[in-house]
């Protein structure tokens, strides 16, 4: 059995219609038979990967809306993310351009230690390929990203993406489970501190 378990937040970025959601659904549903429907819906999913040394890595996968109009909301989702999968569609050259802008933004705004994987989806449609493997691979190398091609439809390469990310994550020093996942800073309440005024002068209503 697994001796160590780590949990990481993974954010999923990419233009709409590149198959982000399908990719994750494929990953989540294929990996294990005991796939359990998420409580609320498929925009947030979790999946566990077991590595060769029996370490288990649990991904919390945060899907984002890829439409341009929601671009400004992305920081709420990639905040505190440990890794990101940026998806493009190999049959749409423009989707790689969009992926590049996501990657630039992540490099500038996200946690500096974030691991980014560039993922060319829809290889089952290779006949209509617009993005050459060499081109994407070269770009990924320049930027220090992981890169692979997948097909959410056939399942090709899907598990491999997540396993590769799991291997690359800093398992020696798992991140503390941060309480800052929710957008908006929590200021917190110091219960030991003497509150100024509030409730001081009035007895409880009870």
């Amino acid at each position: 059995m697994a001796n160590k378990q780590y949990q990481f937040k993974l954010v999923l970025l990419g233009e709409s219609a590149v198959g982000k959601s399908s990719l994750v659904l494929r990953f989540v549903k294929d990996q294990f038979d005991d796939y359990r429907e998420s409580t609320i819906g498929a925009a947030f999913l979790t999946q566990t990967v077991t590595l060769e040394d029996q370490t288990t890595v649990k991904f919390e996968i945060w899907d984002t809306a890829g439409q341009e109009r929601y671009k400004s909301l992305a920081p709420m989702y990639y905040r505190n993310a440990n890794c990101a999968v940026v998806v493009y569609d190999i049959t749409q050259a423009s989707s790689l351009d969009k992926a590049r802008t996501w990657i630039r933004e992540l490099q500038r705004q996200a946690d500096p230690s974030i691991i980014i994987a560039l993922c060319g989806n829809k290889v089952d449609l290779a006949a209509r390929r617009q993005v050459l493997q060499e081109e994407a691979k070269k770009y990924a190398e320049e930027e220090g990203l992981m890169w692979m091609e997948t097909s959410a439809k056939t399942g090709e390469g899907v598990t491999e993406v997540f396993t590769a990310i799991a291997k690359k994550l800093p398992l020696t020093a798992p991140p503390p489970r941060s309480g800052r996942n929710v957008a908006g800073a929590r200021t917190g309440v110091d219960l030991n501190k003497q509150a100024s005024g509030q409730g001081q002068n009035e007895s409880c209503n009870c």
Binding site: L25, S38, I40, G41, A42, A43, N181, A183, C206
Partner: protein
Amino acid sequence: MRTCEVWKNASDAEFDSATEGMEKLVMNRLYDFTFAPQAAHAVPPKQYNPDDLERDRVLAQRISLFGWIEESHLDIPLDEGSQGFVMFAQQELLKINHYKAPRDKLICILNSCKVIFGLIRHLKKEEGADSFLPILIYVLLKANPPHLMSNVEFINRFRNPAKIQGEVGYYLSSLIGAISFIETMDHTSLSNITKEEFENNVEAAIQALPVSNPQSPIISRQEAPAYIAAELEKPAPSPPHAGEESAQPLALSTPALVNSIGEDARRLLQKTGDTISKPLTAISRIFSEALDEAENKLAYLPGPFAPFELGRERREGGDGQPPPQQGPHPQTPSTSTGAPLIQTPYKARVRKVPLSHMPSPNTTTYSPSPGTMAGLSLEDTPSRGITPWQAYTPPQSAGSHQQIHSPAPRGYPHPEQYMYQQVQSAPPLPPRNQPQFQGPVADGAGLQFSGLSPRGPPGTAGTTGPSTVSPLPYVPRTPISPALDVSGVHKETLRQIFPVTDVEVIDLVLETNGGDLGKSIESLLELSSGQ
């Protein structure tokens, strides 16, 4: 808390439930201090964060400028069958002001999201953020929940941080994202609209804003109450319904009667201009409880309705304070009408039902009499940290009459004590005593079960089984009477919202609820969340 004797030997699960119960207990009691809209109108005055209220006002006003937005502007491919989902998602979201505990408020958000995913399945769209977020924004625009910013901040500040991670954190972030989108939205954020059209629509909405006539058709039914509430900067819907947070799911022993009363209540409440679902829920629960508990006391039914409604009227008239009390208690408000507490010029809009519209012949006597005070305080009871059933106990039995006709309760030394007196004077209630006195650990057992049901903890779960159904006639467009001819459609809808629930279970729930879609969804939400 872990070191306390009571929980020292509790299992992790038990302790988790206990902390949930404790959070709820504490936050219920501190609601007047911690929830800005509540604190702002509390008597005596409490400190509160005026920024919250300002942001509430600004957001609600902004949303009210976008009432004209259609699904096509957000590229949502709604069809005819979608409207029910959208309405239901709105109503789940609007319930956020019914509850006080941070967990319960969160669950309202999650349930709304869950219904949205039901819609996505219904539309056969790819499930994911690409389809989810636009619908969430649309639902938010249509619902315009009062005090949304205050609610979100309240959750952020007071929910156990460990409990707003993961999935819950995702959907809370999405809601915050949707709010942020609305805050910055312009014509470039929307599809199928030109700059001119956008500006004209907003201009028209601004023109419509200062209408003083609440019946104005410009303001749609859903928007009106929220908008008015926001304008008033008062905790309009929350205090009257606040006691519901742990309201008890009920067995529908006499559904037809309950429903017919619900219909009456709805008609009445439509006149009030309030959103239908909230008061209707409370009232139908009250009635159901009454029926359930004291069927032989049906003759009293119109009675309790009146004082409750009057209590609500008065409360909505401008305060969120604890029960007005007679006598020497320092919190005693002006005994006239509560009007002095009203701070805005909009009161006329909120003054809803003239007394003569009240169904009970006793109405007028209740209004100025101590009896009203009793009704009022009864409704307030749960808002002071007490489990729900006490709040609903009084109208059904001797207890309530005693309260109503007796001189005003003096001072309420302690809510439990007051409640305990109620219990003693209300005869047929033995089973309900238990959850109340068992304390958080016992309640905790229910917490685990209740999952996503806000009505779960504490205090209700002990008597709530998965087979009980909660009579919440929520979907206004759904026929209240059993509609057998549409049951097939309803089944299909339910399957889309609850894809993992057994078909037999869905059928059974639908049947149990007399074919009422709204109630069935309610029941299934509770059931599925307990899985």
